[in-house]
């Protein structure tokens, strides 16, 4: 017996008699080709109205939840995605004439607020400092209250990285344009590196370019500056988590505005370095300085270089040691103040004993010595060159000045690598000049 040709009553497609469903529209069929309300459907048809409601509720609530989650997941202050825009905005670049090739010694100067790039609405607690890379002469103002940590200096003295709380950081870095790259070429390379879709904005100038981009959940400002007719490239890069970048933007703008080259790359200009060394006045009392048995008359105030940190570890109450922020052996400097009872010794005897101790531990050689007087106080000064106990090639210079005051001997001692002694020596001279004893 041949099966009669039948058609699906729902869509009209031809169906075989034995088909349980329509192959075209899926409508369930009876054996006679009639639509069936088969029990095979997990939910009977009368419930389909309710199921539609459930579907709408589920999908709608899902979309709503996704929108809510997206609202919190996507940083709102990043605003609408900025598109890549390349503009050409000439800027007065700092063009300096080369004096010499890149030098070998990096120095860093920090000055307090009032340095180039005056504070814009500096609120209480805000402190802006100026970082200068002495090797390349590049300068940037930065908020010391935000970027509180200065990282170790690289061995080639090419820059410095700073970091702060909440994942904030910035670094400056300089190098010679050894490959003779054009600004446009470097910009192109940067845009490829940061990827176009993560680039928020880019702008080229006659002396460099700016790129703002996203990376690993951060917003990064990358500012490139050239000097010496594109002979050197200087980079300032500031990073912040996306969630807080709107707050940092004015800070970044000011830092970028202050980023400049004060002098060409080369050996540090002594005058610039000396003049730029800033100081702060400290009181020994604030550091708990005291000499046993002389509780009242040991206190003094003195100027120490700005940014130098008191060495806490191992310090006795009658010792006050300040260290430069640099942790690289080539740039570490120490300025120490100690006081101890006279015990019948002269200033010369104390200074000589101290020098002898250094000679014993470091193979020091005395290069200068003699009596000095500081104000009305008699004293003795010895300068030595010390072979560092570390593996440093360079020698250290150590100056010891012992002053006799009442029943106490005060020792001022400065230690610094020989190549940067011209700056370090000024710190101890300043200390001697400003040393004032309190009644």
């Amino acid at each position: 017996m041949t099966a009669a040709k039948q058609y699906c009553p729902a869509c009209g497609a031809p169906v075989e008699a034995q088909q349980g469903y329509c192959g075209q529209c899926g409508e369930a069929l009876t054996a006679a080709g009639q639509p069936q309300r088969t029990a095979s459907e997990a939910t009977p048809r009368p419930a389909r109205v309710g199921r539609t409601s459930i579907v709408i509720a589920l999908v709608g609530s899902g979309i709503l939840l996704a929108a809510l989650a997206a609202y919190f997941a996507i940083p709102r202050d990043s605003g609408s995605p900025e598109r890549v825009q390349t503009t050409s905005a000439p800027q007065d670049g700092v063009k300096t004439k080369p004096k010499a090739g890149p030098g070998q010694v990096e120095k860093k100067q920090e000055t307090a607020t009032g340095s180039p790039g005056a504070p814009a609405g500096g609120a209480a607690g805000q402190e802006w400092r100026t970082y200068t890379n002495a090797r390349y002469g590049v300068v940037v103002d930065y908020p010391a209250h935000i970027f509180t940590k200065m990282q170790d200096e690289p061995a080639d003295h090419s820059g410095r990285a700073f970091s702060g709380s909440s994942g904030l950081w910035f670094y400056i870095y300089s190098h010679a344009n050894a490959l003779d790259q054009t600004i446009e070429g470097v910009l192109r390379h940067t845009l490829v590196e940061v990827r176009k879709e993560y680039t928020l904005s880019s702008a080229s100038r006659t002396d460099g370019f700016d790129v703002v981009f996203r990376r690993d959940g951060e917003i990064i400002w990358r500012h490139m500056l050239t000097s010496q007719d594109n002979g050197f490239h200087h980079w300032l890069e500031i990073g912040t988590p996306e969630s807080g970048h709107a707050r940092l933007r004015p800070v970044a703008d000011r830092m970028i505005a202050s980023f400049r080259v004060d002098r060409p790359g080369g050996p540090p200009d002594e005058d610039v370095a000396v003049d730029a060394f800033s100081y702060r006045t400290i009181s020994s009392r604030d550091y708990g300085f005291k000499v046993e048995g002389h509780p009242t008359d040991a206190s003094f105030s003195v100027d120490v270089p700005e940014g130098w940190i008191r060495e806490e570890a191992g310090g006795a109450a009658h010792e006050l040691v300040f260290k430069s922020p640099d942790n690289h052996p080539d740039a570490m400097m120490f300025l120490a103040f100690t006081a101890e009872p006279l015990r019948g010794r002269s200033a010369e005897a104390k200074a000589t004993a101290q020098a002898k101790h250094l000679q014993e531990i470091g193979g020091a050689e005395i290069v200068d010595k003699g009596a000095v007087s500081v104000g009305s106080l008699p004293g003795y000064r010895i300068q030595l060159k010390v072979v560092s106990p570390s593996d440093l090639d360079t020698k250290l210079v150590d100056t010891i000045i012992v002053l006799k005051r009442g029943k106490l001997l005060y020792t001022l001692e400065m230690t610094a690598p020989e190549p940067i002694w011209h700056t370090a020596g000024l710190a101890i001279e300043r200390a001697v000049k400003t040393l004032a004893f309190k009644p």
Binding site: C11, A17, Q18, Q19, G20, Y21, C22, G23, Q24, C25, G26, A28, L29, T30, A31, Q36, T38, A39, S40, E41, A42, R51, T52, I54, V55, I56, A57, L58, V59, S61, G62, I63, L64, L65, A66, L68, A69, A70, F72, A73, I74, P75, S78, P81, E197, Y198, R214, R215, D216, G217, E242
Partner: protein, 207 residues
């Protein structure tokens, strides 16, 4: 004829491997063809972009044409699909520059699950002899269009935000997981009906 779950998974895996091999061959051919141009990388990605657009249009057309057609439900294929979806999410997050917070990611996944669960309810399930079949309803198409539209709009306007890319991926994974889980549950219910209830005369078998 019903196959065991293991056979279904193996069969689906073989199918995926075949598709993967075909896709890899296609990519290789496009790559070779690109080498004949001045800027091979540009041409390669341009062709990929065009191919992607073509595939999107084709898949949309195929969906509109076939969503009402009854298809055999193969739980093994659904399980393989579930596994590959989750694997894709894991691999993608490993290479993403950032991942969302647990709460945000969880909410995104849950949102996707809700949509996917709702989507899985927009199909009709049929028992055809010893086979379970399903076909989409108009709602199936509506939900699909909504998801596709939102996805494409977001892709067009928010693709530069990396955190959004991973967010969208998590939602999409949630949709897939919710949908597949819903289908598996309904398949289970249908098979239970098959074993519990006497075979109806109108089950599709010839009396």
């Amino acid at each position: 004829m019903q196959f065991s779950l293991r056979e279904q998974i193996a069969g689906e895996s073989r199918r995926l491997v075949k598709i993967g091999a075909l896709a890899a061959t296609g990519l290789l051919l496009i790559g070779i063809a690109s080498l004949f141009f001045d800027d091979p990388a540009h041409v390669f990605f341009r062709m990929l972009s065009l191919l992607g657009t073509g595939l999107l249009i084709a898949s949309a057309a195929l969906m509109v044409i076939t969503f009402r057609k009854a298809k055999k439900v193969v739980p093994g294929a659904l399980l393989v699909s579930l596994a590959t979806t989750l694997l894709a999410l894991l691999v993608s997050t490993a290479f993403m520059p950032q991942t969302p917070a647990f709460a945000t990611g969880g909410a995104a996944f849950l949102a996707g699950m809700l949509v996917g669960g709702g989507w899985s309810m927009t199909t009709l399930y049929f028992i055809d002899g010893d086979i379970v079949r399903s076909r989409g309803t108009a709602w199936y198409l509506v939900v699909w269009v909504v998801i596709l539209t939102i996805n494409q709009l977001l892709g067009a306007f928010a693709r530069t935000v990396p955190s959004f890319a991973i967010f969208a991926l998590i939602v999409a994974t949630g949709i897939a997981v919710g949908s597949i889980t819903g289908q598996l549950l309904r398949y289970r219910k249908a098979t239970q009906l098959m074993t519990q209830a006497p075979k109806p005369a109108a089950s599709g078998e010839t009396p």
